[in-house]
């Protein structure tokens, strides 16, 4: 019966791991969306080794230990195989090493099935514990770290490393079980029995604290407390341990730097996302990226989490298999715990009972500690997830402990030893189950409730990966000529800026320097998040873990006029805005000097520090003193009154200079009305005010992004963000414009200069006359120099060009 159960479960496990390995093989194709890729085959080696050894171990267990629990071995085999494939998928070299460790572990387990009894553990308890402690002590002198830096917790010989604190966990459990089983029936006072254990465990814990292996030290403390509580049934022990831990924790917080750092980054991770909280935040982002269904093995990017192989393997699994996977994983660990406690309750003597319960507690506590750490349920401690994490010492110890549990379970036909107090065992079961349940709930919180928030964080590096795999929407001018498109193919997409001089306006999207301009403000459309039907988004996210292809956006920019403008501005510092005075559509927006975003990689840092500020869009972000350019507006509002501060403030108010224009571009913040010394205007604001003179006193709402090409409805126009404002009486506007009309020409114009300290500025404004029969236009030219003639030439030529297309 047991044999059939165990073999069925192992068959299902084999199918599970086979599918996982197959998905990893196909994952490059699913990512690249083509069959023409290099498939990943190497992880099949791990599966082959796993299959052979597990089959052999199954055969030996069912033959030599026929009455053993049939669930423990398949459960451990499943999660260790899962871990093996995950490690292999993350890093082939570490995968090979872990496969080696798995090989050794299973050989030890298979050899163990030949043991008739485990009583030698009881007899040699002192020797075993002393050996374990000796090895840990050796690390104080000869300790190394396989990665070259960090705490030196390992003993190394050539390429082999042993972390003695791992087997020591198991040896401590063995020692406590054996010692307590020997002494408890002697009816001495409990405290007398406990003295030696307190001293020995204290030494062990002290050793670990000296080594800064605080995670392991806390596991030891928890295990010691639990075992003593199980054996004696005294609740006071729990209380005492709780207060001691709290005291040590608080003391550690104030006196030990690493404790303080860990606790701080646990309580307030968002304060320092790139420093001490980097790991935990990357872990949470990975878990959020997994969501409910996960990205699929091989299809996530858990490589972004530091130490994803060992400490954060739970986050890696969560990203690739989602809540479905982690709930299954936690359920399997829960199964090991319940079966382990059952073995303990049915054990034939006190030694085996305490030993089985202690091993169960070891699995449970360590799982909760690291999974809780990954989920920010508990402060982070660098311990391993039993059976799953990378680490040979941990895997071997886990399997030895599992073997002992299986061996104890084989004596279920003998009557269980009497149990005076069952409560401690039930309490342990309830405590561990609650811990796993809390982990599952927290996992759901990060994956579902907080998932979207986490994924839009700027330190989510998966967005950068997505840019390479999903083509970004094109940016087109008003005649559908391409301004920005993409280079490369799936997996290597990068942005291609065809019309370079528009860079300060259109902006850029760059993995290192982020996004700016329209590339930033229209990001949701260009990425395909907005404008696609929900079903498309959902399906694309399910299949690829990415958003669908981006949508093309059409601007109001006229590339012909833009090009004319940029030619005239070469080598200057300044800005030009030409717009449709009625609809507010911006036909030209130029800001010079410009830069070439195609070469951002090489020139990015230099551009940021360039004193000419080429990255700034002067047309919307530049704010300039006005000087004599204000005259037409004063005329429109007051006629021939003499200018004073109040008049100027009123003009500013009326023509919207105290308001930031609403447009899909970053604009300079609105200036305060109270401060007379900073009366400045951006070229865009000036252009909108000029438009009012050509548009019967109405300031149009500016527009630059006109329409988006959606898959369902075709081109859909993007609404204007602001509203047209009736600034002045239509007649007043018309009169003002008429008084600045140029003889023999169909436009009005005015130019002026402003001075501020050493710098001088030249303004030119102009527009079509009030009764103009075609498209009404308005223009602003600003030069950061004293050059009236150039400003006039640019403005007039552009106006004429725009009026006669």
């Amino acid at each position: 019966m047991n044999k059939i159960t165990q073999s069925r479960l192992l068959q299902i496990t084999a199918v599970f791991l086979f599918l996982q390995s197959l998905i990893i093989t196909l994952s490059p194709a699913a990512r690249a969306r083509t069959w023409d890729v290099e498939f990943r085959f190497s992880q099949w080696i791990a599966l082959g080794v796993w299959g052979l050894l597990v089959a052999r171990a199954h055969y030996d267990i069912t033959r030599k230990l026929p009455d053993a629990d049939p669930y423990l071995f398949p459960a451990a085999a499943l999660i260790s195989g899962w871990g093996l494939l995950t490690i292999w998928r993350l890093d082939t070299n570490f995968g090979v090493r872990q496969t080696g460790s798995f090989f050794i572990s299973m050989i030890v387990l298979i050899a163990g099935t030949r043991l008739l009894t485990i009583d030698f553990l009881r007899r040699y308890k002192y020797i075993l514990l002393t050996c374990g402690m000796f090895l840990v002590t050796l690390t104080l002198i000869f300790g190394t770290n396989p990665s070259g830096s960090g705490p030196r917790l390992w003993l190394g010989y050539r390429d082999f490393y042993l972390q003695p604190s791992e087997p020591l966990k198991f040896l401590l459990v063995v020692f406590l079980a054996a010692y307590l089983a020997d002494k408890l029936p002697s009816r001495l006072r409990t405290i007398h029995i406990l003295y030696p254990t307190i001293i020995l465990s204290g030494i062990v814990i002290l050793l670990l604290i000296i080594q800064r292996d605080l995670g392991t030290a806390s596991i030891f403390t928890a295990l010691y407390t639990i075992i003593i509580y199980l054996a004696t049934g005294r609740k006071r022990i729990l209380l005492a341990a709780f207060f001691l831990m709290a005291f040590v924790g608080v003391a550690g917080y104030y006196f030990v730097g690493i404790v303080q750092a860990r606790v701080d980054s646990w309580l307030n991770p968002w304060n320092d996302p790139s420093g001490s909280s980097y790991q935990i935040i990357q872990s949470l982002i990975a878990i959020a990226n997994g969501g409910i269904v996960g990205r699929g093995p091989g299809l996530g990017d858990p490589g972004f989490i530091p130490v994803a192989l060992s400490d954060f393997i739970f986050a890696a699994i969560a990203e690739e298999t989602g809540l479905f996977g982690t709930f299954g994983l936690l359920a399997i660990i829960g199964l090991i715990i319940t079966r382990g406690l059952r073995v303990a309750l049915r054990a034939s003597d006190l030694f085996r009972r305490i030993l089985a319960a202690g091993i169960t507690a070891y699995f449970g506590v360590q799982t909760i500690l690291i999974v809780g750490g990954n989920l920010r349920l508990l402060p982070l401690t660098g311990v391993t997830l039993p059976f799953v994490s990378y680490g040979g010492s941990s895997l071997l110890t886990s399997f030895i402990a599992l073997f002992v549990l299986i061996h104890i379970s084989n004596h279920l036909d003998i009557d269980p030893a009497p149990l005076p107090k069952p409560q401690p065992y039930l309490a342990l079961g309830a405590f561990l189950s609650l811990g796993l349940f809390a982990c599952a709930l927290t996992n759901g919180w990060w994956s579902v409730v907080r998932g979207a928030d986490l994924l839009t964080r700027s330190d989510n590096q998966r967005r950068m990966i997505e840019e390479q795999f999903v083509s970004r929407g094109l940016i087109l001018d008003s005649t559908n000529s391409i301004i920005n498109d993409n280079h490369g193919e799936i997996g290597s997409f990068s942005r291609n800026y065809k019309y370079v001089d528009l860079a300060p306006v259109i902006g850029y999207t760059d993995p290192i320097y982020g996004q700016a301009g329209l590339e930033a403000t229209l990001d949701d459309y260009l990425r395909g998040i907005k404008g696609n039907p929900t079903s498309t988004l959902w399906w694309s996210n399910l299949l690829y873990g990415m958003n669908p292809e981006g949508l093309n956006v059409r601007l109001s920019i006229d590339l012909y006029l833009q090009n004319r403008t940029d030619e005239m501005l070469v080598g200057k510092r300044g800005a030009v805005v030409l717009l449709n005075a009625k609809t507010g559509e911006i036909l030209v927006m130029a800001s010079h000097p410009t830069f070439n975003p195609n070469h951002f990689d090489e020139s990015g840092t230099k551009l940021i520090t360039d004193p000419n500020k080429p990255l700034i869009n002067r047309a919307t972000l530049g704010q300039y003193p006005t000087g004599s350019i204000m005259q037409p507006f004063i005329d429109a509002l007051y006629g021939d009154e003499s200018v004073n501060d109040n008049v100027l403030i009123n003009v500013f108010k009326t023509f919207g200079f105290y308001q930031a224009p609403q447009i899909q571009l970053p604009v300079a913040p609105a200036l305060s009305q109270d401060d007379i010394d900073t009366m400045r205007v951006s070229p865009l604001q000036m252009a909108l005010a000029s438009a009012a003179l050509s548009n019967h006193g109405v300031i149009p709402a500016p527009r630059i992004a006109m329409a988006v090409n959606t898959p369902v409805e075709g081109w859909v126009s993007l609404p204007e963000l602001g509203k047209p404002i009736e600034a002045i009486q239509a007649q007043a506007g018309d009169d003002a414009a008429s008084s600045y009309l140029v003889e023999n020409q169909t436009y009005w114009q005015h130019s002026g200069q402003a001075q501020e300290g050493e710098s001088s500025f030249t303004w030119f404004i102009g527009g079509t006359p009030p009764n103009f029969q075609a498209t009404p236009l308005a223009i602003v030219v600003l030069l950061e120099e004293n050059n009236l003639r150039l400003a006039q030439r640019i403005g007039e030529e552009l106006l004429v060009d725009a009026m006669h297309p």
């Binding site: 069925r8 479960l9 996982q20 998905i23 699929g296 399997i332 299949l543």
Partner: protein
């Protein structure tokens, strides 16, 4: 195409994982069911109780349930009218494949021969015990040994 195939495999993967857990629940439930059926199919032998009161009057009755209480209280399964018998004097119950005699903290005690019954004691056919002035004789039905296994 590729991603669709992988999606199908991912669904199969999730099914395999939960098939593992489902299989465990299934076997655990089967165990439970089997145990229930085993317990309910267990045949217990009936018990025949023969009581002789102090005044020589005798009562006898056969029981098939697994628990019989004897006492002065008329609600007992086997009520006896004897001043020296407590209201709930003893319990005879079947478990661990045996009939057991258990004193329910009676005032005058229960005796088998001259030995007082303090801990539950196994009863076999023709065993006699005494509560107050009444003497009880037990006859256990013969049951096919195979059924007991």
């Amino acid at each position: 195409m590729t991603a669709l195939l992988v999606l199908i495999l991912r669904v199969a993967l999730a099914i395999a994982l939960y098939a593992f857990l489902g299989r465990i629940l299934f076997t655990l439930w089967q165990d439970l069911k089997q145990q229930g059926e085993f317990l309910s199919s267990q045949k217990k032998p009936g018990i025949h109780i023969h009581a002789v009161l102090e005044n020589g009057k005798d009562i006898q009755q056969r029981f098939v349930q697994s628990e019989v209480t004897i006492g002065r209280d008329p609600n007992c399964d086997f009520p006896v009218i004897d001043e020296a018998v407590s209201a709930h004097h003893v319990r005879i119950s079947y478990h661990h494949s045996q009939w057991w005699l258990e004193d329910l903290n009676s005032t005058n005690g229960t005796f088998m021969g001259k030995i007082q019954v303090i801990v539950p004691t196994v009863l076999i056919t023709s065993d006699q015990f005494k509560c107050g002035g009444t003497t009880f004789t037990i006859l256990v039905d013969m049951v096919d040994e195979k059924l007991l296994q």
